[in-house]
Amino acid sequence: MDKNDLKSMWKDAHYTNGEINFSKVSIEEAMSLKHSKVISRSLLDVKIKVLLYTLILIIYVGLMMYAFVYLRLSLSVNSLVPLELVGVFLLITASSEFVRLLVLTKTADNLSLKDSMLTFSKKLKRIKTSDFIIYMVFFYLFTILIIYNYLTDIGGVKNLSWGNNIVPIPLLVILILMLLSVPWFIKYLDNLRYKKLFSNLMDSISQLNDQSDTTGC
């Protein structure tokens, strides 16, 4: 078969055979929709998750505010840590779903294919970076708060000793290290989650960038 046969094969195929019928899809109906059925169903799943986690997070924050601000409840680090960890878990789940929704709804259809891919990969990188920074600020502040609470509980730095009754120092150090490593762990999870998407993008972009052997053909 000759290279030029491809065009004639394509033309023959499209002039002799009828097109597969898309009559079920109405243009007018499509113009009134935000997304097609299958896409909006998938997006709805993500939106429901975002809403649910956010709602639980709001209730949790509300309860915490009520307990600590209105009732002026004072808890030791022992009791505070498990409560805060629940909050951390809720925050992570809510924000990771929100980030997923952001990534899913970002598009750049009007640009050339290459520019569209570059724009999307930049947006993806920006979303991942801002997500990481938010986590970093939150968890580092949270760690400072825990250290501050701990020191208040034991009555200052001067009372710091290995064997106090509140929380043993090695346990506290482990907890702090865990908290400080959470943003990096989230970054790792994000990389894992978006790995296929990102590698597909990079692969496509590199296909369009590959000009090194143009003289060879």
């Binding site: 000759d2 290279k3 065009k7 898309f22 299958v38 750049a108 692969d203 496509s204």
Partner: protein, 184 residues
Amino acid sequence: MFFCHFVIILSIYTTNLKNSIISKVEKEFIELIKSHQGILHKICNIYFLRDPYKDDYYQEILIRLWKSYPSFKNLSSFSTWLYRVALNTAIDIIRKQYLIPVHIKLSKNEYNIAEYKNNIESENKDKLYLAINMLSDIEKAIIILYLEDFNYKEIAEIIGISENYAGVRINRIKTQLIKILNHG
């Protein structure tokens, strides 16, 4: 009192004017799509050949075309713009399936479509589609533009590469396709 009447009449007038402009744009879009529907069918067949949700993706491409239509400024031909948006959408749908895999039960109709496809696989058209289906998303975009008689300059513009490189890529893809067609 007079002022109120004036405001009401003015608002009715502007609403009517706005509606008539919108409906004019809508009609124009529908007409353009109807005359270029074949392009969308081909893109859907190339990117979603055996996908039971092909109709849905076709609809998604239509939706995204309508959303992008205000940005179409007649700087290029309508078909060039249509290819650009439709190809971007098709590739975007495929790419985002990594994040939201579709797990929806297939209806009887969707099973029937799959059976129908198996019956006509022997035809030339399907051979060509199956061969194209083995290419990467970018290669599919380049070859459909070539097969649709776009010149190198237009292909380069839609894809976002240089004219020379478009030529190089087309030659490589053609060789690859011939190899697939000849050796199955």
